[in-house]
């Protein structure tokens, strides 16, 4: 029976989790409505806790939550420092620090209005939600399996992409490990000493592991270019880099509603074409077999579709009905919310129920 095997414990394909998390992040980037952002955060948090493995990168999810909290705090704090007088509801009047003539336009302290603080809060919450969504992807997707699933054409840039993607999870993981080791040793000490005792091992650890990752990838043939002449490599590399840059600009312009439209479609299409050309030329000369390739079954489709559905719902509602997605700060009021985007965001929680649990839970430690 299909349903009998569907829920058998196994680790899902990492790309599925990435698609799901990126869908949530795209949805978060479309709105500053705190209700929706809070729901996205809760959804991401619950799915992570329900479906993560016991791997160290999965345990580092809370670091992203701390980072998100810091982002929100600093956004609001800067509204205090650099003038937040836009709006009528003045909360506090701090003494304004006079600045010289050449610094005109910059204001230090002074009156702080509820509108500008809320503006900072909404803005920071949006960024924090996107960061937490990426953290969810890092917690749920196994970076080593993601590397394995990389198409051969991407080997040239794949190494760099994976190292870039895994730097922060590795740092976070190092922090968790070093803190645990300190706790086991019963380490105390003064605050500065604690900082040094954590920071240095963490940085050393992360560097060591990056080098180890690079070495292990090297030994498996990633980025190896012995047989190909230099000019061909240069052309492929240039094509790929230009293509990826174009895709980045295009995706950014597509997602950010306020950038000029000519940056969106043409750059995305041009980048894709150039990148695919690069992929073709690179893939033509890379021939590798793959040991037990990652499966892409129904559960992966469900996870990916849930994430994409969230993004699609937020995209359509923001073009149909943008009133609620960016709450007005001119008149202070509780932000309004309609059902469509809320239900859309709630689709994102389905993977917590509709996917098999990771198999590490069943394996005794």
């Amino acid at each position: 029976m299909r349903t009998a095997t569907y829920f058998l414990p196994r680790e899902l394909h990492p790309a599925a989790w990435w698609l799901w998390a990126l869908g949530l992040a795209v949805a978060a980037s479309r709105t500053t409505n705190p209700w929706l952002l809070g729901t996205i955060l809760a959804v991401a948090g619950y799915v992570v806790v329900a479906r993560r493995t016991d791997a160290p990168w999965a345990m580092a999810f809370r670091m992203y939550l701390y980072l998100g909290a810091a982002i929100v705090f600093f956004r609001v704090f800067f509204r205090f420092v650099f003038g937040g007088a836009e709006g009528e509801t003045i909360l506090v009047r701090l003494p304004e620090i006079p600045l010289p003539e050449w610094a005109a336009g910059i204001r230090l302290l002074g009156a702080v209005s509820a509108e500008s603080l809320l503006g900072g809060f909404y803005d920071g919450l949006r960024l924090a939600t996107m960061v937490v969504c990426l953290g969810a992807a890092n917690a749920l997707a196994n970076p080593k399996r993601l590397l394995k699933a990389m198409p051969p054409a991407l080997y040239e840039v794949g190494t760099a992409v994976i190292v870039a993607l895994s730097v922060f999870p590795q740092l976070a993981e190092s922090v968790v490990r070093v803190r645990r080791a300190r706790k086991l040793r019963g380490g105390g000490g003064k605050r500065f000493h604690v900082l040094r005792a954590i920071m240095i091992p963490v940085l050393a650890d992360a560097l060591d592991r990056s080098l180890r990752l690079a070495a292990s990838m090297d030994s498996r043939g990633y980025g190896r270019a012995g047989m190909v002449d230099a000019r061909k490599r240069l052309v492929t590399g240039a094509l790929m880099i230009i293509g990826l840059l174009g895709v980045c600009v295009g995706v950014y312009a597509t997602l950010d509603g306020s950038t000029p439209r000519y940056l969106a479609g043409p750059f995305l299409a041009g980048g894709l074409v150039v990148g695919l050309l690069g992929f073709r030329t690179a893939g033509a000369r890379v021939q590798r077999s793959r040991y037990r390739p990652g499966q892409w079954n129904l559960a992966e489709v469900v996870v990916a579709l849930c994430g994409i559905a969230v993004a699609v719902v937020l995209f359509t509602t923001s073009s149909v009905d943008p009133t609620n997605l960016n709450p007005s700060l001119i008149i202070l009021s509780w932000p309004m919310l309609s059902w469509a985007p809320l239900c859309g965001v709630l689709v994102g929680v389905l993977p917590a129920f509709l996917t098999p649990v990771p198999d590490t839970e069943k394996v005794p430690a």
């Binding site: 209700w35 007005s328 009021s333 919310l337």
Partner: protein
């Protein structure tokens, strides 16, 4: 977080309907032009100086600024053009004003001012950068598919009732002489009205050619870039109250928050559901996390 109660479309606590009846205060005219809707005339009866924005809001109008510039750039007056309204802008089919960035030059609220019995003048100053004229007029008209020369003038003559036939007594305002969006108009010495020299209503030439309009020129200190410079200045013909369109004092205007809730399809229940879902998921997260941590330790 305790928020102020919702504001009304016309805040009846602010300003008075109709023209100002005395030389104290300023009359604000909002002309929806091609957007459709009855022109609204209200009075901001304040004798002390204030900015154009003070006049607009003080008269009871409900306005919205763009997210980029704040209230320095007014993008909606009385929730027009609303976020669900498709503006027939030439070359930009299906355009809707989202109030995120500077509105296009082919569809924006243009800012005018006039002394009593004077001609309407396109403001060279941002709404936060100039002071309104006591006894004078502030005009807002929606400029749709218009050029700098064909910007629609408010269709209510700047003449207070009972003063028709008097001569124009307002001073011509100097243009801004820098590109600094924070430059403020130097407040004119408050000379008594009778001592002011009559001003000929001649047309002044355009200062700058630009594609972008500026009803407002003040930039929030945190936003690094500058607002686009103002449109060329235009002056209307000699005012004649006989050509006025029909207008109201905005007495029957609906509650903007209700209109917004209606337009967006938002439900008063949805935020409660969202809050409940967040709490539920947070509780489930905590429960699952502790359960799995315990399973790991055992």
């Amino acid at each position: 977080m305790g928020f102020a109660p919702s504001a009304r479309a016309i805040d009846h606590g602010k300003g008075q309907p109709g023209f100002c009846t005395s030389p104290t205060g300023v009359t604000v005219v909002v002309d929806f032009q091609d957007l459709g809707g009855t022109t609204i005339v209200r009075c901001y009866p304040q004798g002390t100086r204030g900015t154009g924005l003070d006049a607009l809001k003080g008269a009871g109008f409900q306005v919205a600024g763009v997210a980029r510039w704040g209230e320095a750039f007014i993008c909606r007056v009385e929730n027009r053009p609303s976020a669900v309204e498709v503006l027939p802008i030439q070359g930009r089919e299906g355009y809707r004003e989202l109030c995120v960035d500077t509105p296009p030059a082919a569809g924006y609220w243009s800012y005018w001012h006039a002394g009593n019995n004077c001609a309407w003048t396109y403001s060279q100053w941002g709404v936060k950068n100039r002071d309104f004229v006591q006894g004078g007029f502030e005009g807002w008209t929606f400029s749709l598919n218009a050029t700098a020369d064909s910007n629609p003038v408010p269709r209510v003559a700047p003449v207070r009732p009972g003063t028709a036939g008097q001569s124009c007594v307002a001073k011509e305002e100097p243009k801004p002489d820098t590109d600094d969006p924070n430059e403020r108009q130097v407040p004119a010495a408050q000379t008594p009205l009778t001592q002011r020299k009559p001003d000929p209503t001649t047309t002044t030439t355009a200062a700058r050619e630009t594609a972008q309009p500026v009803p407002g020129g003040q930039v929030t200190p945190s936003s690094g870039a500058a607002l686009p410079p103002p449109m060329p200045r235009t002056v209307s013909a000699k005012p004649d109250p006989a050509n006025n369109v029909a207008f109201t004092g905005g007495e029957g205007a609906p509650d903007v928050n209700e209109v917004l809730a209606d337009q967006s399809g938002s439900s008063p229940l949805a935020p409660w559901v969202a809050g409940g879902v967040v709490l539920l998921l947070a509780a489930a997260t905590g429960y699952t996390a502790t359960r799995r941590a315990r399973a790991r330790e055992s």
